[in-house]
């Protein structure tokens, strides 16, 4: 369980043993979504630095993980993501405006500004509202999968989380429940080497994170998390097994967060420039571009065009979202319960009276 599955070899060609054999339009779609995700992150950081949004959690360096996993999902599957998985949302068809609206927390946000930025939620793709405490979504993913299995539906759930998440009680609970009940759940751990500042060596003394699956009675697999085809292949296989009633899988995707944990973090405190530079060499987007060029599907001009197109799509979406009005303040009291109880009606009326 400590060996790692890769598809794209150092020379840019695909390992025929592992190649998921995606059609050309899917390969290009994966590339476009990764480029879009990178452009989205760069813009969001710029917006935060300019004071137009308060906070952001970038995923640069990990695009192959969320986009590759997102591509393996099907309609009906449930997504229990972490805050760094907006790539999954993009891949599943969540509009840029929904994600940006969430960051702005204005009327363009379908979740009405209820959470700080990067706490995604989109019912239409069964992407469940993100929590800040890590791994709380894991047992929930097991429950959603249990319900699907009980009704005989051929769907799976995926729960994604970081290396830090594997230290939580919730990780243990969820893995154990999934093993006992053989739920169609894929545990997708994006091991980006750090939980904010703490390295993975301080999260576990185990030889890998994937090996932990063994203690719960199911498969653990390690995959190259900077290789979008490998991620697509491994997650796709695990989801297919889950839907076929073959139980859960733990996937450890080895990757690296190129940027800070969040816009509030300074990663130079805890890691060296050399280390970051070494991982920049393994950039998942450049690596996939090299593969696509080798296959004759892209060239320098189309790579540049894809980046420009992504940038322009983000720019347009920002324009739309920035024009939206603030969230109406009465909404403060809504959605606490199905119906507004008396004490919240009183509080709302007092607030309204104070504003008159």
């Amino acid at each position: 369980m400590d060996s790692m599955i890769s598809v794209i070899r150092p020379d840019g060609t695909a390992d025929p043993e592992q190649d998921p054999g995606l059609p050309e339009e899917d390969l290009l779609l994966l590339y476009r979504k990764m480029a879009l995700l990178r452009a989205f992150d760069e813009k969001a950081i710029a917006l935060q630095r300019a004071g137009r949004i308060g906070f952001f959690v970038p995923s640069a360096g990990q695009e192959a993980c969320s986009v590759g996993a997102g591509h393996a999902l099907r309609d009906g599957d449930w997504i229990f993501p972490s805050y760094r998985d907006h790539g999954m949302a993009l891949m599943r068809g969540c509009p840029l405006e929904t994600l940006l609206g969430q960051i702005y927390g204005n009327a363009a946000d379908p979740t009405r500004g209820r959470q700080m930025p990067s706490h995604w939620c989109d019912r239409s793709i069964r992407l469940v509202s993100v929590s800040s405490p890590v791994a709380t979504q894991l047992p929930q993913a097991v429950g959603a999968a249990y319900a699907a299995k009980l009704r005989g539906e051929k769907v799976a759930s995926i729960a994604s989380f970081g290396d830090g998440g594997t230290s939580t009680g919730e990780f243990h609970a969820a893995m154990n429940f999934a093993g006992v009940f053989e739920t169609p759940t894929v545990f997708f751990c994006e091991n980006n080497q750090y939980a904010i500042s703490v390295p993975v060596s301080r999260q576990t003394a185990a030889s890998s994170l994937a090996v932990k699956a063994q203690a719960y009675g199911f498969r653990g697999i390690r995959v190259d998390g900077n290789d979008v085809l490998a991620v697509r292949k491994v997650v796709g296989d695990a989801l297919a097994r889950a839907r076929d009633g073959k139980g859960p899988t733990l996937i450890e995707a080895l990757t690296y967060r190129i940027g800070p944990h969040s816009t509030s973090d300074d990663p130079t405190i805890y890691r060296s420039a050399e280390e970051v530079a070494a991982w920049r060499e393994k950039d998942p987007i450049r690596r996939f571009a090299a593969f696509l060029s080798g296959r004759g599907l892209m060239d320098d001009a189309s790579i540049d065009a894809a980046a420009a197109e992504a940038k322009e799509a983000v720019r347009k979406a920002v324009e739309v979202v920035e024009a939206a009005p603030p969230v109406p303040f009465e909404s403060l009291f809504e959605d606490v319960y199905a119906e507004l109880p008396w004490h919240l009606a009183e509080a709302r009326d007092a607030l309204l009276a104070g504003k008159e």
Binding site: W78, F80, P110, T111, R112, R114, Q115, H119, C121, D122, R123, V128, S129, S131, P133, T136, L138, P139, Q140, A141, V142, G143, A144, A145, Y146, A147, A148, L150, R151, S157, G169, E170, H172, A173, A174, N176, F177, V180, F181, E334, D335, V336, Y337, A338, P341, W342, H343
Partner: protein, 324 residues
């Protein structure tokens, strides 16, 4: 109408709820083969199968988390946490996940989970089998908190909780499981969430008490009556959202209020009830609003009887209010 214990009434509500709605699913520790440590779910696994009556691994956070996921995906999970004292490992899942799912998703996702748990003292269970944690959950926006004290209310409120759209913390006064009997309607019986029960009518003082303290309040009211004091006893049944209208109507008439609970006094739910009464009934009050409660100590084993409020302690507060 047939007589039943509180335990039988809750069992019947679960059985009928499961028979009526295939989305209802029970999960918890020992709820299946054993039928629960109090035998609340006895026979349900045999009847509905182990996929709907689930013996879970021993992890409360996992149980609540799993129930949330089931509810997101269309089920109606009813969780049993073996003792309310064991609910704290699931506190994050309850407070930040279950209670907030509707709000943080702006209604895109909801988690109508019922969390049943035996609460309160009176069984010589010491610190780990006797606590009354209702204040934590009343303090948590998004939760409905229910605590019945009669068999009919237990059946009717549990049926309402299972059929509702919001998560409910359903606290069961375990001291009353087998010690109270009462008439319970057969078949589907619902008591609306958010409506108090006037357990005894009176004119001189309003005594608010819930769970296992409701019968203590009635006994105290009997003692007061012997002294010529007419006490009205109100059992809120739903702690939150509280039926404040019934309480205010009563206190405005009697002019005196005593609140009784077995949870520790400071920041107990009684403090909130007292604050609401003084905000709304100030000019009708003839005496301070008094509280009779458990002490601000851990729940003791050997001295349980000294810890728990009894009718004499309640009567002392009633006398103080009358003499003020």
């Amino acid at each position: 109408m047939p007589q039943a214990t509180l335990l039988q009434a809750i069992h019947d509500a679960l059985l009928e709820g499961m028979a009526r709605d295939p989305r209802v699913i029970l999960l918890g520790e020992d709820v299946g083969r054993e039928g629960g440590v109090f035998r609340m779910t006895q026979g349900l696994m045999r009847r509905f199968g182990q996929e709907r009556v689930i013996d879970t691994p021993l992890n409360e956070g996992g149980i609540i988390g799993m129930a949330i996921g089931m509810a997101l995906n269309g089920m109606r999970p009813v969780v049993e946490i073996e003792f309310a004292d064991f609910i704290y490992p699931a506190f994050d899942q309850i407070v930040s996940e279950l209670a907030k799912m509707r709000y943080r998703s702006a209604g895109q996702f909801t988690a109508p989970v019922v969390v049943r748990t035996p609460s309160g003292g009176g069984i010589k269970g010491g610190h780990y089998h006797s606590q009354s944690p209702e204040a934590y959950f009343v303090h948590t926006s998004g939760l409905t908190v229910v605590m019945p004290s009669t068999p009919a209310d237990a059946k009717g409120l549990l049926a309402s909780a299972m059929g509702g759209e919001d998560p409910v913390i359903f606290l069961e006064p375990k001291a009353l499981y087998r010690t109270v009997r009462g008439e319970v309607p057969e078949g589907e019986h619902r008591v609306p969430i958010g409506e108090a029960r006037i357990a005894r009518s009176g004119d001189d003082l309003t005594l608010v008490a819930w769970g296992a303290m409701a019968p203590v309040a009635e006994k105290a009211a009997g003692l007061a009556a012997a002294e010529g004091v007419s006490v009205e006893v109100i059992d809120p049944r739903t702690l939150w959202p509280l039926d404040i209208g019934t309480i205010v109507g009563s206190v405005n008439r009697t002019g005196r209020a005593v609140i009784l609970h077995e949870a520790p006094r400071s920041c107990g739910f009684g403090a909130e009830v007292a604050a609401l009464i003084q905000e709304r009934c100030f000019l009708h009050l003839k005496a301070p609003v008094y509280r009779v409660a458990g002490f601000d100590t851990p729940f003791p084993y050997a001295l349980e009887k000294s810890y728990l409020p009894d009718p004499r302690r309640v009567l002392a507060a009633v006398r103080a209010a009358m003499a003020f």
